[in-house]
């Protein structure tokens, strides 16, 4: 295991979790050579840049935070309506609203310096070069522990089909980003594909250090009175508990297909869900939409997860990873 080139805050927190390990199960997980103090992360676009969440619970609770997708230039995003409520979930078409990479490194990343958690910077782009430019800019900022590549973006040069739908493109993007960003690179897969394992193999071939999945499903809502889509962008992404069973299946398929760590995302809303993702193969789990309904969820999930591990006599949370027994 490489040791993390981390700030004071980070190594302190590692000590804390190691000490805690004496009295309880070890919650830490190692991903791409970094040790996270626990497998609970928050998902890109569902935790901003961390500031608001920290008003509700101590950000240090988290193993990692994946910040909102950033692009080269600031983006205002789509006009309202950007969201709609669905059964056990929601639609969103925020339109990649973000401060742009410059303001991100100048104003947002410094806020995270004082915390002892992994910072994963989610990066989006509308063409190939944008991913490279943003990641190159992040390379000099060690507080950006890793980048996560949001490849569910419409690819202008492929006529709007998502980058993430073509394993060759995914391989190419990952390889290119690896060249400019010296720390781990984690492509985040789109579920809107026929065979997600094939995409994951493309990502691995490109040199991915880990793979996150899933992003949202392309979906739509309609107002029956106005006959208009509920979102200004017409289509948006479905997230929330509604998609969890699909996410679990995809996480397991990818876990079987590649040898790099898998990060599970999709509808996780309690500790049981986290355990399910880990049993299916996830090394860490990102909480997303569920944070909107339960902003202090990570605190509860961690305490419930710890209880579960104690009751099951697990020494380490890593014992769960990929422990599924197929029927």
């Amino acid at each position: 295991m490489k040791t993390s080139p981390k700030t004071k805050a980070k190594s302190e927190s590692t000590k804390v979790s190691a000490a805690a390990g004496l009295s309880g199960p070890d919650l830490s997980v190692e991903i791409a050579g970094y040790r996270f103090k626990n497998p609970i992360w928050t998902a890109s676009g569902t935790c901003g840049y961390g500031e608001e969440l920290d008003e509700i619970f101590d950000l240090n609770t988290l193993g990692g935070i994946v910040t909102k997708s950033i692009t080269w230039k600031p983006r205002q995003g789509h006009p309202p309506s950007r969201v709609s409520e669905e059964s056990s979930g929601m639609l969103n078409a925020i339109g990649l609203a973000n401060v742009g990479v410059k303001a991100y490194v100048d104003e947002k990343l410094p806020f995270l310096e004082k915390y002892g958690l992994g910072v994963i910077v989610n990066v989006a782009g509308f063409d190939f070069q944008e991913y490279i430019d943003v990641c190159a800019r992040l390379a000099d900022h060690p507080r950006a522990d890793m980048v996560e590549l949001n490849i569910s973006c419409p690819n202008i040069s492929s006529g709007g089909i998502e980058f993430g739908a073509d394993p060759k493109q995914v391989e190419k993007i990952v390889r290119a980003v690896k060249r400019v960003f010296p720390r781990p690179v984690i492509p985040k897969l789109s579920p809107n594909v026929t065979d997600i394992a094939e995409i994951a193999r493309g990502a691995e071939a490109g040199g991915a250090d880990a793979i996150s999945l899933i992003n949202t499903f392309i979906a739509m809502g309609v107002d029956i009175h106005s006959k208009r889509p509920t979102l200004s962008n017409n289509r948006g992404g479905l997230s929330g508990p509604a998609i969890k069973p699909i996410a679990l299946s995809m996480v397991n398929s990818v876990y079987e297909a590649v040898s790099v760590p898998v990060i599970g995302i999709g509808g996780a809303a309690n500790y049981e869900d986290v355990v399910e993702f880990m049993i299916c193969g996830a090394s860490a789990v990102q909480l997303g939409t569920a944070l909107f309904r339960e902003p202090d969820l990570p605190v509860r999930v961690l305490s419930d997860l710890t209880k579960f591990l104690i009751q099951g006599s697990y020494n380490s949370v890593t014992d769960l990873i990929g422990s599924i027994k197929m029927n």
């Binding site: 676009g45 969440l53 008003e55 509700i56 309202p80 409520e85 909107f292 339960e294």
Partner: protein, 265 residues
């Protein structure tokens, strides 16, 4: 201590008013002492199949009892669910959230404008101002609804000693006009000293108030609404467009925004 809490809270009491309006008092709410008018709470209904929380302006606070009261009308699924809660039933409260109203200066007069279910932050703010030394005679309270049935809590308002101007669309209570009519008369009368507008109500009303305020070059604060997935700024889902370009989050920069800020496009 964290600025915003997310805590289980229980129905302490309810007042069923006419026409589907009601108030609900919940406690404990540990941050009740930091609440100001314009703040809202974001309420989750455990066990229900509503996926978003629902936002409600704080209507009154009891700091000693650590409880808060909301005022609502049964409109759709969330409000119906809330309306059938029984004493002791549990909800989860996130709050206080949002940017509250700012007090007028001591010598300013206030033009309060409430449309329908926009009453709660306006009435709360009125009481708050009076408590903090603003003279009731310097406060005009315009309150509009479809009909007499929509003008709730009249005795409470009357007891405050403010200039109460109820209006209804059908003339069944007060003048038969929209809230903008008495507002325009008040502004054009020139009798109000250095007025500030405080308004909450349907979008069409806010837009009209915003235009009037701009026309009369009168400062004011408007309380906005939007569907809110998170209610505290992390999802960017609740935005409204600004005249300066870009967007404001209704839950964070809002729900209270100054007159002239929003782009009505």
């Amino acid at each position: 201590m964290k600025r915003v809490v997310c805590q289980d809270s229980y129905l302490i009491s309810r007042r069923d008013l006419k026409n589907g309006y009601l108030t609900l008092t919940f406690g404990p709410f540990s941050r009740s002492s930091s609440i100001k008018p314009g703040h809202f709470v974001h309420i989750d209904l455990p066990g229900s199949n509503l996926y978003f929380r629902r936002a409600f302006s704080v209507y009154s606070v009891n700091v000693k009892e650590k409880s808060i009261e909301i005022f609502l009308k049964v409109i759709g699924r969330g409000s119906r669910y809330l309306a059938q809660l029984k004493k002791g039933d549990r909800v989860n409260m996130l709050g206080p959230v949002g940017t509250p109203f700012k007090l007028p200066r001591k010598n300013q007069s206030a033009l309060m404008v409430a449309g329908g279910v926009g009453l709660p932050p306006i009435l709360f703010m009125t009481r708050w101002m009076i408590k903090r030394g603003r003279k009731p005679e310097n406060i005009v309270f315009v309150y509009g609804g479809r009909s007499a049935e929509d003008i709730i809590e009249r005795s409470i308002i009357k007891r405050l000693g403010v200039r109460f101007l109820p209006v209804t669309e059908d003339g069944s209570y007060g003048e038969k006009e929209l809230v903008t009519a008495p507002l325009a008369r008040s502004l054009s009368s020139g009798l109000l000293k250095d007025p500030v507008i405080y308004a909450c109500g349907p979008e069409s009303m806010l837009r009209a108030v915003d235009h009037l305020a701009t026309e009369f070059e009168t400062p004011g604060q408007l309380a906005f609404e939007a569907p809110m997935p998170c209610g505290f700024g992390i999802c960017l889902g609740c935005v409204i467009p600004l005249r300066s370009g870009g967007f404001a989050r209704v839950c964070r920069e809002g729900p209270i925004l100054p007159v002239g800020r929003v782009s009505w496009a």
